[in-house]
Amino acid sequence: MVGLVEQLQTLQVVAAGVFAQVEHGALGTHGGHEAALNAGVNAAALGAVTGELPKWTLLIPFLPLLGCVLCGVCAILKVRNKLPAVITVACIAGAFAATVGAYMHTMHDGHAQTAVVKAWDWIRFVWGTEYKSPREFIANFSFYVDSLTCLWMLFVTGLATLIALYASEYMAGDVKTAGYARFYVAFCLFVFSMACLVMGDNLLLLYLGWEGVGLCSYLLIGYFYKKPSAVAAAKKAFIMNRIGDLGLSMGLMLTYVHFGTVEYAKLFPLIQTYLDLAQHGKIDEIPFIVQAIPVLFTIGAFGKSAQIPLYVWLPDAMEGPTPVSALIHAATMVTAGVYLVARFFPLYLCSEWALPIVAWGGALTALLAATIGMAQFDIKRIMAYSTVSQLGFMFAGIGVLGAVGGAAHVFTHAFFKAMLFLSCGAVMHGFAGQLDLRKLSGVAKIKGWKIVSLAMFVGCINLAGVPFITAGFWSKDMIIGDAFADHGMVAIGWILLGTAGLTAYYTFRVFFRVFMGPVQYEAGDEVHGDADHANHANHANHANHGHSDAHGAQEHGSAAHAAFHPHAPGLAINAVLLILAVAAFAVIPLVHDFSGGGGHSFWASSMVHGSTAGVEPPHAEHYKPFGMDAHRFAMIGSIIVGLVGIVVAFFLHYVGRTSSATSKADSIKLGAIQTAAQHKWYVDEAYHAIFVLPLRVLAHVFHAFDKMVVDGLVNLFGMVPRGLGHTARRTQTGVLHDYALRMAGGLAVVVLAIWFLHSGGWSGWGGPGLVEVGSVGGVRP
């Protein structure tokens, strides 16, 4: 223990030393803002280490890693029971407990402290001499824990525990296959990678985690690897993320090039000096390279968090098992981009373009994805577009300088969106893979589906933003209010407000069609894209109900589905959904200050303000729409649009609906707009035409070049001797006389040549050769 304390103290000393170095030299070389630098010396440097944490904090990342290894061992030993699920739930629950402990340490005395816990030296290069340009590159395997980290890790590990539990039942059909252990290996590895991403104390470890979650996402989307669409979706997700990762890696490199370090504890104090410039309105004096870094980070964040133009992979990622969709593609991994922006919020403030890009990218994505979501029929896809849309809200929130709103929405969204996905997953699981909302109706009235319906309802009211009683309302409201308050971003406020109305409509469209109305359903033809699992599900149904009904259905000669009975979710799924439903309400006081006045003294705010994201943005004029306080206006506006959206959905999809397949909405013909929205505005097709096709054509050209020129050249070297040989082999007739003739001919040629030469060449031609022969004889002594 003593050694640890010493180690931490050493770290602090090192950090302090770096600050001194920074103030005296390192930055002076980059632009000579000496005056600004002197102004920037703060008492408590931004992002500096101010406390310490016990070593067991390391359990947060390493317990899931242990789980990954153990599940891997299970896979190797061909364990065919639920052991991997037990291991995973235990390990991640342990990580959650450690997170809670770390959180309590971090917020010990009301002030959020920042600590670095080191696991081991990872990368350490030192070159140059002490006197002549000393350079170093240090990236330790150590974890930077401040309140923002805690905020993220609390819901990551908490939700991961619950979803691992849910998956133990959801994936039960695969227990007898190798897939079950494989699923949990990737699941644990994901939690480990996410912990590295969120907790890493340097950009390189963040990058490791960033790539790690991308890998796990790829592995889990492609879980049903025998299904071509799943493989294509996995590939698409991976490639789209590569484009974003290029931006992130370039930003990382530029960070090192400019700041000389990638460690947060050293980096943020350096950013502080630029931040002071920005806060004094001297943003023009900040070097271009510093302003470019957050823009590059944004490319990475937009890739990982599925924003325009890199959002198209996320809806396709729904090919993965639903627990994966809930955890990775709704609640946690896709918020990594938001985390990156929040973590480097001070750096974003130093750039003229980065935050507007984030804000507009987010707002446009929110609107676009919501319009697509309105026209889809696959409930999981609707939820996927809703996730894209809500992520857009988060980015817009941070982009309009509302880091608190953005982070709070990440937090609340994680709960209710996970719940929505898990409810959809339960429906999909129970109805043999049916996801089409035209083929499902009245699920709430079927026996055994009460809890799922309740959870779905809670999720829907959160997503739709039913006023006052939902956490989703408060966090979304904060974002819209911040947008209206920012003078230059009022347009974004209107976009988000409109999107909130669309969100309410498409959310309750799903709810009214699938869960309400007449009981009518059709089974899907598969379960989770896996034929084996479908058989399992059907067997289970027959075992439960099938003794009389199955025969009846066959006698009637109707479709095989007529004998289908949905199998209601079991204990694990129901328990997880109940916990999440309670949690969705429990987080309300964490994201809103009920003491009145719309203040910022609530938990999520203190978590953000205690971290690097808590820096004060430059003061801007407050905009007052219609003479009202922006937040009040936003609240009134979002109440109105939210309720209108729900009421429209109620009248179009509930009132007077007699079958699952049709509703009053069908009578509304919007022509081309509707078709285009159903086809996702043809964005995939456009990307295909603009990027994929030219590349394919180019590939064909290169292929042809390769085939003709390169291969041709190689073949030519073979062809020449081959052709020569082909000609020469004709002389080999095998007939003795031919050889003899040719030998004689050769001899004749030789003799004639000698004779010709001895007769004096052309000039002596025609003369009697014997004269010459005689002269030969004359040589004789």
């Binding site: 020469a728 082999r729 004709r730 002389t731 080999q732 007739t733 095998g734 007939v735 003795l736 006389h737 003899a740 003739l741 004689a744 014997l770 004269v771 005689g774 004889g777 004359g778 004789r780």
Partner: protein, 120 residues
């Protein structure tokens, strides 16, 4: 003509009268004609034994040329060489005839054109 052949007169006199005027030229002509006869025979005939005999003719033509030059240069190397060649030729003749017999047994024919298995 005599002037021409003077230089070709075999170095040693002492041959009996009818041969006294025989020069290297005569011997070489004999050798050459023998060789050409053998060559033509070899190329035109298809009977293996005849062809073999033709090779023997060419062989002896070479031997005559060697002896003639040996005599011309007053050097015994060529003559002793021919003694060895004759010995070997005898052995080779035995071997070749044995081969011909074997070939005949294979195809019941002495036609050389029957054997074209080395065709490329």
């Amino acid at each position: 003509m005599n002037v021409l052949l003077d230089g070709l007169t075999l170095a040693q006199g002492g041959f009996p009268e009818p041969m006294a005027s025989a020069t290297l030229y005569h011997y070489l002509m004999t050798s050459g004609m023998l060789f050409v006869i053998g060559l033509i025979g070899f190329v035109t005939r298809r009977n293996l034994i005849i062809m073999f005999l033709c090779t023997e003719l060419m062989f002896q033509a070479a031997g005559i040329a060697l002896i003639a030059f040996s005599r011309f240069h007053l050097n015994h190397t060529g003559e002793s060489f021919v003694v060895f060649v004759l010995t070997i030729a005898a052995a080779e003749a035995a071997l070749a005839l044995a081969l011909v017999v074997l070939l005949f047994r294979r195809k019941e024919s002495l036609d050389a054109a029957e054997w074209a298995e080395m065709r490329g």
